[in-house]
């Protein structure tokens, strides 16, 4: 009964998590760039 909703929510959760990781890595890359390359 809840199958489709749960699967859609899971897919959305994975994508949101990937985006959040990307955002954190983007900041980490800037910190490293500032620390070592400037």
């Amino acid at each position: 009964m809840n199958g489709p909703d749960t699967q859609t929510r899971r897919a959305n959760r994975r994508l949101l998590a990937a985006m959040a990781v990307f955002a954190v890595l983007f900041c980490a890359a800037i910190i490293l760039w500032k620390a070592f390359l400037t």
């Binding site: 859609t8 929510r9 959305n12 959040a20």
Partner: protein, 294 residues
Amino acid sequence: MKATVQSSPRAGTAAADLAELVKARLSLLTLATVMAGFALGVKDTWDWLLLAATLGGTALCAGGAAALNQWWERDHDGRMKRTRQRPLPAGRMASSDALAAGLVLSASGVLCLTLFANPLSAALAAATIVFYILVYTPLKRVTTLNTIIGAVPGALPPLIGWTAARGSINAEGLTLFAILFLWQMPHFLAIAWLYREDYAQAGFKMLSEGDESGAVTGRQAVIYSLALLVVSLLPSVFFDYSAVYFYGALVLGVGFTVLAGRFAAHGSVSAARALFLGSIAYLPFLLGLMVLAR
């Protein structure tokens, strides 16, 4: 087998939901105004890396603010025809996931601007998010002044671009802010009138509520478009903008005011749509003219 077929999410569904959560189209428009602000704020040479970081940081902030806004308004969105299919009210996304994503994106964006641009740009971005989520969003159900209040965070992005390039705020930067502030009023008044029943159903207090003839909303749109026309000419008077800008802004401003006047006079759906579409065309032309004529 049937269950398997049904439970397979459509290709692109998750991506479409993500785009909706971060209001991708609106965020792109925001980035365009940040870029214009940056271009106008540059004094001598372009720092492309700084521009990329400013756009990246602001994109994270814009996406985060949109996600937090939808998390906050998920119950009300479920009551509006226009928004009930968004991922949160439709149940396709867990509200805790949207909240977490909104917080991470917003914090990353502010951090990025602090590290790469300057603390002033980061402070403006943080103020935009806080004002949008904690002031404008709750006031939508309290006062019809919410449209004016919401225009403040809406006008800050070009100033973020400006300060990232210039490092400080001056009268020219504030004029850019004023242009964006005034431009939003006819734009959102037209939307508010077109969707007035939807807004009323969701409990949002809008000036357009009960204004069937469009006279009250239209009059406000005319006042703001006239103010916009005057303010948009100031760069030619006080700053170093060429005559091309003056005449271009004059033509655009008169055209925009005529559309607002038509809406005030007729109060028809087609006139409100024309004002809305006209507002979308006006902004890139004016900002483009500013960048080219400076």
